[in-house]
Amino acid sequence: MIRRLLKAALPGLILLYPSLPAFAATCSCAGVPVLIYLDTSAIEKGDFFASYTADDHQINDLVSGSDDVPDETGRDRASFSQVLSASYAFTDHWSVSALASYVKHERKIGSSSFGEVSASGIGDSVLLVRYSPFYISPFSRHELSLGLGLRIPTGENDIVDVFLLSEDMQPGTGAVGKIGWASYSYAFNQAATLQAFTSINYTHNEENDRHYRFGHEFNFSVGLSQSLGSRFGYSAVLRYRSTEPDRRSGFELPNSGGKWIDFIPAIRYAVTDRFGIALSGRIPVARDLNGVLQFTTSYSYAVTVSYGF
């Protein structure tokens, strides 16, 4: 149980990473507003894991392509997400994972005396069915999981704060996303205290009722995790993320989408055999964004608590 518990806090195995809203410093603005963490820990029959994550996502870096640009407007943009996630294994090979979220967005222009905007509400949900033909055990050092799922538009996407807020300020996307996912882990020793892992996922987004479609998204991660003793562990992940430009009414929006490489370190502690806590962060390493100017992630950090039954 504790091995799974520690793994539950590994950001490297987070299925759907917090999406990076991309904001143009111009009229055109688009972003992916929902932060999603999905617990994918349950693999062996009868496993049931639940987790709660609180994420603080600061989005204040102004970037032109790969270059940082000073922001004289003093923009302050942040998203705060709370995510409840659970996974359950029906058999030794089949499991399901589900996620629900609550999202708050804040936006303020420091150089302006007006216009501090905040919006919050229930965000989108995710349901994923997963098949694991083999997994790490005393008899195997390999683990493979394949999954298909849906992002369900349970979140609000028509919040008004004087005016109808832009898509990136809405808690929900308002549209279904179709998810494909796969991960592989390798244990360097029989106790599986040191693992290497990789994961890949793709989300195909549909258009919402505002005729807005967030760009399709691809993620690829590689990382290492190690347990230090029976309670402590850490991990380090490099993640490549690519999103297509968003579209409205079929037209591509400038200054949206791009490519990112992030470093995601995490430490975790198993308080008991069933209860664990983890702290993770996300630090941009490189990025190449579409268009000529976008606001993007400065950093983010999250605290996750997990419980296994």
């Binding site: 410093a25 009229c27 055109s28 004289e72 109808l164 832009s166 400038p254």
Partner: protein
């Protein structure tokens, strides 16, 4: 003999109509358009119509035959003795000389057999008015050899006041349409301090002031032709001797420039706004005596067009409607200033002494980059906009648009000839002159009816920029609608509700615009 009769008539009228103005001072005007009759001959009468633009009077006379037809004479409709005559001719002062016409051979509401009218006429009518209430008709029917005089008065006095107003001083008062009103509905309903449903105003993403306006920025005082690309577009402003050019390359990133100009004998604030999504530029004077005369970007869009806010009251204003749409000053219309959008080469050729907005704005923006990708050329519309099914033109066609009340017309810049093309047109009852050139990349439209109601006719002037047109009085006018030479030198043509914008944006705001082909 007619002269003597007219003198007698005038004397009679002056004598018989107490309180009326002297005949010499009265001028026939459209306020006389009415039904007139002689109370002594009931069942007969006249309709009189004055056409001031062509200086003509039309008269229809409903009367009877000179003798009653035999009792057994029949008629399918009406009395067999019914007769009507028409008369038409020029007027001058208080009198009009009309030729009488007799039409015959036609049939009720039918084209066959065709009616026939002898164009040489059948006599003459002299129409004399003493004032707005009474006149005298003197007739002579050639074929019958009869003459006579009929004193007439109005059937109803409804138009008398209009007549008296128009007749002041023997000259017509000005009735030209006033264009300087909102592009939007007149007297729009204000609900919850807004005239646009809030759901139609959308958040563009950057937030209030997220696109930073420029505040009294630096200018290059001696730019050269090479300071910008020859085809780079600029918004040109000329206020007195203060001539400034604002490149689109900079406006794309800031959208608003808050400025100060010497106007009306004092320094006044003015804000130039340019929306890169709709390609429209307008300039407004600030409100006098306001504590903060500047505008900022609201971060919202209406019909994909910039929505500004004034920093004093936080009222939000639609750029293309040129009207406050929400807040304390809702429905207010700003006082507008003329701008000219054109290429740098054309602007510099017209005004080599211009100042040019500096790229040293204090913001880290790459002004060589256009921030919206292929938006200027493709069919995309990035934010909701109305009436996008109107695809008579490519969405990004730059059009000069004019709105007069409920009537709208556009002139695609590319449809103008290469040299200066001048069009004398009437739109929504307003006489306008359009000056455009596809090669010079200019398009402006002004009211060509002057304050004294003179309607000017223009023709193009080539190769004399900034002079672009000359009128029949010999005045030469520049691209800002100012007479630079001639008897009206110094005068300005009246600004209209017009500016250049992308077609998709114009049709989103002003449905059903006619298009100059």
């Amino acid at each position: 003999m007619r002269t003597l009769k007219q003198m007698v008539l005038v004397l009679l009228l002056l004598h018989t109509v107490p309180g009326s103005a002297d005949s010499d001072e009265f001028t026939i005007n459209p306020g006389l358009n009415d039904a007139w009759f002689n109370p002594a001959t009931g069942g007969q009468g006249f309709f009189i119509t004055v056409y001031p633009d062509i200086g003509q009077v039309f008269l229809a006379w409903f009367t009877y035959d000179t003798v009653r037809p035999p009792e057994d004479t029949g008629a399918m409709l009406g009395d067999p003795g019914h007769r009507w005559l028409t008369a038409q001719g020029p007027y001058s002062g208080a009198s009009a000389e009309l030729t009488v016409f007799v039409s015959k051979g036609g049939i009720f509401d039918g084209s066959e057999p065709a009616a026939d009218t002898d164009p040489s006429g059948d006599g003459a009518i002299t129409l004399e008015f003493a004032d707005c209430t009474a006149g005298m008709i003197s007739y002579e029917i050639t074929s019958l050899g009869i003459t006579g005089e009929i004193p007439i008065q109005r059937v109803q006095p409804d138009n008398q006041a209009l007549c008296e107003t128009l007749a002041t001083g023997g000259q017509l008062a000005c009735t030209r349409p006033e264009p300087d009103r909102s592009h939007g509905p007149n007297n729009p309903p204000v609900i919850n301090r807004q005239i646009i449903p809030f759901v139609e105003i959308v958040d563009g993403g950057p937030g209030v002031d997220g696109i930073p306006a420029l505040e009294q920025p630096e200018f290059l005082t001696n730019p050269t032709t090479g300071s910008l690309g020859a085809n780079d577009l600029v918004v040109g402003v000329k206020i007195g001797d203060d001539i400034r050019a604002y490149p689109h390359d900079i406006l794309n990133w800031h959208e608003i420039v808050n400025e100060q100009f010497a106007m009306d004998g004092e320094m006044r604030g003015a804000s130039l706004s340019y929306c890169p999504l709709t390609g429209s530029a307008v300039m407004w004077k600030s409100t006098p005596n306001s504590a903060d005369q500047t505008f900022g970007t609201s971060g919202t869009l209406y019909n994909s067009n910039l929505v500004l806010y004034d920093r004093e009251t936080q009222t939000v204003w639609s750029q293309m409607l040129e009207q406050a749409i929400r807040g304390e000053r809702v429905a207010e219309i700003p006082e507008k200033l003329q701008v000219v959008e054109t290429s740098w080469a054309t602007w510099y050729a017209m005004y080599p002494g211009t100042r040019l907005l500096s790229r040293n704005t204090g913001y880290s923006r790459d002004y060589d980059e256009y921030p919206y990708g292929t938006f200027r050329e493709d069919h995309s519309v990035l934010f909701p906009a109305d009436n996008q099914e109107d695809t008579r033109l490519h969405r990004k066609t730059r059009v000069l648009g004019l709105n007069v009340g409920d009537v709208s017309r556009v002139w695609p810049i590319r449809n103008f000839t290469g040299g200066v093309e001048i069009l004398n047109e009437s739109v929504g009852g307003m006489h306008v002159v359009v000056a455009g050139s596809s090669e010079l990349n200019i398009g402006v439209v002004y009211n060509r009816q002057l304050e004294d109601c003179t309607v000017l006719e223009f023709e193009a002037v080539q190769d004399s920029l900034p002079l672009v047109m000359r009128d029949t009085e010999g005045n030469g006018w520049d691209v800002f609608g100012q007479a630079l030479e001639g008897p009206r030198a110094g005068q300005r043509l009246q600004k209209t509700n017009s500016y250049i914008a992308y077609w998709y944006a114009w049709t989103a705001f002003f449905h059903g615009a006619s298009i100059y082909q």
